[in-house]
């Protein structure tokens, strides 16, 4: 049996202490804790369904060992809207119809958030690149492009008002 230790980290703004074996992936740990919005699609880094933010950067949680995120801030799609208002990306995904079966959606939204941090005014090719690690079998990505551009505009507006 692999060695288990308890690490401290922040998940969706909440400080948590988590006991995890050395070989546990962040995906496994998060789902064990009930963060079912983090999906498993391949567990090999091929699909992006498991994407979460670690200190604001999207990673495939199936490839990260839980121990390696000790002391860091993990955010899932459910943690994006903290503070009441629905996150503009979530709002835009809903309004644009960028969601079909929805299995890829939490990962796509998280990846989009990570991309927009560095590229606040993306064109379609920026979005393609930013989301290239996230497979979606249902939407053909067209409405995803719409949603990300709409959300980017909203986020820029919020930024300039701040």
């Amino acid at each position: 049996m692999a060695e288990t230790k308890t690490i401290a980290l922040t998940i969706n703004g909440r400080d948590r202490k988590v006991a995890a074996p050395a070989n546990a992936t962040l995906l496994e740990t998060l789902r064990e804790l009930g963060y079912f919005e983090v999906k498993s699609g391949c567990e090999k880094g091929d699909c992006g369904a498991c994407a979460v933010l670690v200190d604001g950067e999207a990673i495939d949680s199936c490839l990260a060992l839980t121990w390696t995120v000790a002391g860091r801030a993990v955010t899932t799609v459910a943690g994006l809207s903290l503070g009441g208002a629905k996150h503009p990306l979530i709002e835009a995904f809903e309004k644009s119809g960028a969601v079909q079966c929805g299995y890829c959606t939490p990962g796509l939204i998280v990846a989009a958030q990570s991309m927009l941090k560095d590229t606040p005014e993306p064109d379609d090719d920026d979005i393609r690149l930013g989301l290239s690690g996230n497979l979606c079998r249902c939407t053909g990505y067209t409405k995803v492009f719409d949603a990300v551009r709409d959300a980017a505009a909203v986020l820029r507006g919020a930024e300039s008002q701040a």
Binding site: G41, C47, E94, G97, R128, R137, T139, Y141
Partner: protein, 777 residues
């Protein structure tokens, strides 16, 4: 046969308030916010974790299987092998509401003696943790003695070939004999013959198969599972040898299906383990399990020999089709039939011969996949149309126009189309939407292609398909719909809510739909065959209409007018010509409740029922109706590397009536991507039956990098058999895409690759063959 009306106009006086609007689907907020629980997101106390051990060979005899070490491992609760299952078998036939079943299509649940395909299950394990279950799988010892296998359907037909199914490997044949083929060819001025090949394709839904089973206090086996078909409770009960009312299937929102969750997947394994252990059991396939664990799209070899006059009229077509059924029967006979019905395409051809067969091999079994045979047929007939046009020096669109079916014309199987056939409109609009042609740049050539199709919606009419739905209104005037329909991501549930909202005069937010539970929701049939909206939409329409009639009747009494003068909208009942005479729906419902007027309705919708087609001629009705449309693309092909970039992709489809145009557009966009993968990159490679591509790094589906923005053009003839004149879009969205791309590549490089996928290697090879040889020979 001719002279039928071609101009369908919108039905008059239709004033839709909810239907036809691009509303946010009811299921979407929960999914976008991460609140939706999929089948894999449920856990239970005391739950075990399961694993399936699979055979690493495609054709072998199992001479020894010893699970003693696995059973002895601490934390392993149960290991099941064929020896533990007596002679239990599982049906692979169509899920049905009809009780009909073909003979000799059952399958062993676990390998008893003979392994017929790579990945066939040898044993089931349930343990306290997944890691233990996986370790136990490694501890099971077995010997597999290789047997000769057969991996090509044509080889499998030869005398002396190893027999995989039946006596001759032929699992189904169909033929069409329509008109006078010889006379048709005699009339022809040119005969064009080509052979087209398609590959094994994987559904690649993002959510791998998953389920959780437990036995409850009434000894009912409950299975919460990701499935397109909750009616499988019957087949599961039969496999277990328990009564049908002792198995309950609870669906969840399904993380993609595309036909890949149409057959039973994990349900029987879960039920057996839950029964054996008396504890809840969870089985979640890994992605690799999923590549091994469900049937694939059939590879087809299709030859068209077409007779045509100089001015482009098709006088005869002779088609042969051979499909690889893989190791077990599953839905192969039906897929083959659909390919036959759609064989010649959406064209009026009076003289047709088709000979089709599905043949068993030691490859992975093949079954349902969006497009269901009609997609493979379309790959062939649409490339053939372009080849004919080239041969005649005729415009490709014009050739199609000269041959399109019209309403009232008979298709290959003799059924005369009653609904609108807007193929020409769709094709013309899709083509026009391509706009200006991209400039060519050195070795990069630009090409365009179009494809049209004839795709059925609804199941085979001799299956006597039905669908039930329950609609009720609560005392506060909110609405409840109960329907067994599964939602596989296309908005099936939301469409039902939209229909009920329309008829009962409430907003979408005031409708709650309970779906996909074989114990508590009326059985609606499968979410397959582009039938969910057609069948279940009609059932909800019937139920809501009946309820509406009672509410309006009571309101009319209250207002002292005739019922025809009353309407429902915005949660009120009112007199149409005197809107100040109105009352809150809530008050009306209150009156009904206090007077014992029934506030709910259970309705059944029945598709057209027929007998089977004539086996000698293939003539008769096979489907309720057909959808028509087109897809057009523009591609850039780098003639040095063979790389293809899809620059523009436009789908134009007559959907009859869009219940939710945003959802329809979503289907078209998704179909464009799935069809693009089919055309260019996706192939399940089996080498001597062994799968070489069991991951997303080997099996390449389109990413955001590969996709242009897809344009959707929605036409509405209101001529369909679905609610408000709807047809369907689930499968049609995919069907024409791959041949449109194939035609565009051929247009760009002046050579055709006759086999999908059209990979860079094949393009480069085709171009090399075209080059004049240099130097002396």
């Amino acid at each position: 046969m001719t002279g039928a009306p071609q101009d369908w106009t919108r039905a008059p006086n239709v004033n839709l308030r909810q239907v036809g609007k691009p509303l946010v689907r009811t299921d979407v907020p929960g999914k976008a916010q991460g609140r939706t629980r999929f089948a894999g997101d449920h856990v239970m106390p005391n739950m075990l974790h399961a694993k399936v051990l699979r055979a690493p060979k495609a054709s072998a005899r199992l001479t020894r299987l010893d699970a003693a070490k696995a059973r002895a491992l601490e934390g392993v609760v149960c290991v099941l092998t064929a020896a533990d299952l007596a002679d239990r078998r599982a049906a692979t036939d169509i899920p049905g509401q009809t009780g009909r079943k073909r003979l000799a299509t059952d399958q062993q649940i676990l390998v008893r003696e003979r392994v017929r395909y790579h990945g066939e299950p040898l044993a089931l394990i349930a343990a306290e943790t997944l890691a233990l279950a996986e370790r136990a799988a490694d501890l099971i010892e077995y010997d597999l003695e290789p047997l000769p296998g057969v991996f090509d359907p044509v080889e499998a037909l030869k005398p002396g070939a190893p027999i995989v199914q039946g006596t001759d490997n032929v699992v189904a044949t169909y033929k069409v004999r329509k008109g006078d083929l010889e006379a048709g060819f005699a009339e022809a001025e040119r005969v064009v013959e080509n052979t087209f090949r398609t590959q094994f394709v994987e559904h690649a839904f993002l959510e791998p198969e998953v389920g959780l089973a437990w036995v409850d206090e009434n000894e009912v086996i409950n299975i919460r599972v990701s499935t397109q078909v909750i009616e499988h409770f019957r087949a599961i009960a039969d496999a277990l040898g328990v009564a049908h009312n002792q198995v309950r299937i609870l669906g969840s929102m399904v993380g993609g299906g595309f036909g890949g969750k149409e057959d039973v997947t994990v349900e029987i394994y879960l039920a057996l383990l839950a029964q054996a252990t008396g504890r809840p059991v969870r089985l979640a396939y890994t992605r690799e399990d999923s590549f091994f664990g469900h049937g694939k799209r059939h590879p087809f070899v299709i030859t068209h020999r077409t007779g045509v006059t100089q001015d482009g009229r098709i006088t005869a077509v002779q088609i042969t089709m051979t499909a690889d059924a893989g190791a077990y029967v599953f839905l192969s006979p039906y897929v083959l039939l659909y390919a036959v019905v759609a064989g010649p395409g959406p064209y009026r051809i009076d003289n047709v011969h088709i000979d089709a067969r599905a043949v068993a091999t030691n490859n992975m079994y093949t079954s349902a996949f969006r497009g269901f045979g009609a997609a493979q047929a379309c790959v062939a007939h649409e490339q053939q149309m372009d080849e004919i046009a080239k041969e005649l020096g005729l415009d490709r669109l014009e050739l199609r126009r000269r041959n399109f079916l019209r309403t009232g014309d008979e298709i290959a199987t003799g059924y005369a189309i009653e609904s609108a056939v807007w193929s020409d409109d769709c094709m013309t609009k899709a083509w026009a939407a391509l706009g200006e042609r991209a400039p060519e740049d050195g070795p990069v050539k630009i090409g365009r292609g179009v494809a049209t199709y004839q795709q059925s919606y609804g199941r085979i009419t001799w299956l006597h398909d039905t669908s039930e739905a329950w609609v009720g209104v609560e005392i506060d005037a909110t609405v409840v719909v109960r329907s067994g329909v599964t939602d596989i991501g296309a908005g099936q549930v939301s469409a039902l809510a939209q229909i009920a909202a329309e008829l009962l005069g409430v907003s979408l937010g005031e409708v709650t739909v309970y779906n996909s539970d074989s114990a508590t929701t009326p059985l609606a049939g499968t979410t397959t065959a582009t039938r969910a909206l057609y069948m279940t939409g009609n059932a909800v329409h019937l139920a809501a209409e009946a309820l509406r009639g009672r509410l309006i009747g009571r309101a009319a009494e209250e207002f002292g007018v005739a019922p025809s003068e009353v309407d429902l909208a915005e949660s009120r009942a009112f007199v149409i010509d005197a809107p100040d005479k109105s009352m809150a729906l809530k008050d009306l419902v209150g009156i009904c409740a206090s007077e014992g007027i029934h506030r709910s309705e259970l309705a059944m919708f029945r598709a057209p029922f027929t007998g089977e087609i004539d086996p000698e001629t293939g003539q008769g009705r096979v489907h309720p109706d057909y959808a028509f449309g087109a897809h057009a693309v523009e591609v850039a092909v780098d003639t040095e590397t063979g790389e293809v970039t899809v620059l523009k992709s436009v789908g134009a489809h007559d959907v009859g009536q869009a219940i939710n145009p945003a959802a329809v557009a979503g289907q078209i966009e998704g179909g464009a991507a799935q069809g693009q993968g089919y055309a260019l990159s996706e192939a399940m490679i089996y080498r001597d039956g062994e799968l070489m591509t069991p991951s997303f790094s080997e099996y390449l589906i389109p990413t955001a990098m590969d996709m242009p923005r897809v344009q959707s053009i929605i036409l509405e003839s209101r001529s369909g058999l679905g609610p408000f004149g709807a047809k369907g879009i689930g499968e049609p969205a995919l069907t024409p895409v791959a041949p449109a791309i194939a035609n565009a590549v051929a247009d760009a490089i002046g050579r055709r690759v006759f086999e999908l996928p059209i990979t860079p290697e094949r393009i480069v090879m085709a171009l090399r063959e075209a080059e004049p040889r240099k130097g002396p020979r």
